[in-house]
Symmetry: C2
Subunit: 339 residues, 2 copies
């Protein structure tokens, strides 16, 4: 749900008539979209499914529930404790019952297995696309790749997967032909941090204007979404649900504590994508990602990579300021390369 | 731990050398106290025990753990689900093992029962003190009562309980003699919201200067701490631990979702204490309490009570501005009374 209508500034003023202003823009955006009735996904939904990944969303779902039925699935925050995972499994079980009750359809092991495969195939296509961006020059821009990741939450998964694979065939050819979206010397940038819900293209657009390449997003709309598959160890319903718990508890999301997997992930991705600089992206008032920047800053220092932290919302008032900072940042990177 | 050294501004600049600035002052304060080594409780502790009540604390405990061993106990956020309570019980069990390992002392049912009684007695004394503040005029100022609530986290519980009961005996006499700290006409104010760790007396001091009476704190340093007792249904270790889970999951803290108990609690307290106005108190960047103000504002409107929302940190830069707002707020209350 949040992936669908939570990335635009125009619904924020409506939300601020009810919510405090100093909340994350994603939260204000989705709440405003329901309040002003302008998101078709909200308007055609019978139920919104939320989670307890952060304080802001958790509390605003209570208010959203006054506008549209909202079911909150609790996510334990210590991902590696057996008791936490067992609790998560129980939460999934309760959610399964809720969905069966709402739809009148029984969730069988067979159907769930097919659904897992369907979404795994989507993840594989996205991962294939991501890996093509490791090439130099990259055959697709960061902005275009971001849009594809974003609509992966909206589009029909079968069609989407087929179309992404078709696109990757074209990009394979580009790579063979040595065709890229920039020169080989353009700085290769990782964006690490908060998700960017559609239509939030702010930072990618600014980077594209400056001539840099965003080659990887260490983000929940990025590698955190598609890197790992759901891999059941058997075909029973319990084994399938357990595989979902295992997959999601291994996501290096800042909502988890501690989140050493993210430190490792950023280190690994920086190498795999030949990254030359990290832009740490925090939505305003997102404590999880804001505090975790301390650890990612150390990762960058250890790897000898310049890091620029950008904390922003969806409004364009700070776009010029961000562009100036990005330009100075790129000069540091080019300076290190001797340009 | 947080109750001990998280209420002062002077450690905040130290913390801000590491942490983002736009975090809750309580979090920055406690982290700064450990960083600069000025809190004797931190310096003499072998272990800090944290919890997952909010994003900011959860993530900063990771960094605190680099300075002093920090054990994080997970608190489920949907308080009324049986699965959540079972998970909490498992977290308590694991914590018990950790404490036994650290101290070399076995936590037996007998010892735990005695400890529960000890702290219940402290809660009863605090509740007795609180109920004396229902009188008009109140026999003790809000500022003095706040200090007593605050030191309840630091002082030896046996001595503290005895001294609070002695004080209450004196206050009983004051009530009999009709002696109060203000006139009978002074506005009776409830403060509802974030906890105030020692030495955070900012809002109470301002209110006292204006001549108003703070008669009740709907706060974790206030009614949420002492209203309910831990009430075991048996003497086995499991029953005792279960009683702790039941007590803590019934606290109307904004970390829970939904938190309808708080709506009821504020309504009830307003009646019990003959409250004439509510000051909604939010520490800066505390999403849980900030968002929940929307619901408490409705409570105030339903009860016909004026409400003033104050969002502040520990610095005194906004003290004059807050005083001006409080004075205007008190005029509204006096206006309603026909003064």
């Amino acid at each position: 749900m949040v992936g669908l209508c939570g990335g635009a500034d125009f619904s924020v003023p409506d939300a601020e008539a009810v919510l405090p202003r100093n909340l994350c823009p994603l939260i204000k955006s989705f709440y405003g979209f329901k309040l002003n009735g302008t998101c078709p996904y909200f308007q055609s939904s019978d139920l919104v499914v939320g989670e307890t990944t952060c304080d802001g969303k958790k509390k605003v779902y209570e208010l959203l529930n006054e506008l549209i039925p909202t079911y909150v699935l609790e996510i334990p925050h210590k991902p590696d404790t057996p008791a936490g995972k067992e609790f998560w499994l129980k939460e999934l079980d309760a959610f399964k019952l809720k969905m069966e009750d709402l739809t009148g359809n029984k969730i069988t092991a067979e159907k769930l297995k097919a659904a897992i495969e369907l979404i795994n195939n989507k993840r594989k296509a996205l991962k294939r696309l991501s890996e093509l961006r490791q090439k130099n020059p990259p055959p697709i821009s960061g902005l275009d790749a971001l849009l594809i990741y974003q609509i992966s939450f909206n589009d029909d998964p079968v069609r989407f997967t087929a179309k992404v694979n078709e696109l990757c065939d074209e990009l394979d050819q580009r790579v063979k032909d040595g065709v890229g979206v920039t020169s080989k010397d353009a700085p290769r940038i990782m964006i690490s941090g908060c998700p960017m819900a559609i239509p939030n293209w702010k930072v990618h657009s600014i980077l594209q204007e400056t001539g840099a390449n965003v080659v990887v997003e260490e983000s929940c709309i990025g590698t955190r979404y598609f890197t790992d598959l759901v891999e059941p160890k058997g075909d029973s319903l319990k084994e399938l649900l357990w595989a979902i718990v295992e997959k999601y508890s291994a996501i290096p999301c800042a909502c988890f504590t501690p989140n050493e997997r993210r430190v490792k992930s950023v280190t690994d991705l920086a190498k795999q994508f030949n990254v030359e600089g990290i832009i740490y992206y925090t939505l305003q008032n997102c404590h999880d990602y804001n505090v975790e920047s301390v650890k990612i800053d150390r990762v960058a220092k250890t790897a000898g990579l310049p890091m620029l932290k950008i904390e922003t919302d969806y409004a364009m008032g700070d776009a010029s300021q961000i562009k100036t900072r990005v330009e100075a940042f790129l000069e540091i990177i080019q300076g290190k390369k001797g340009f």
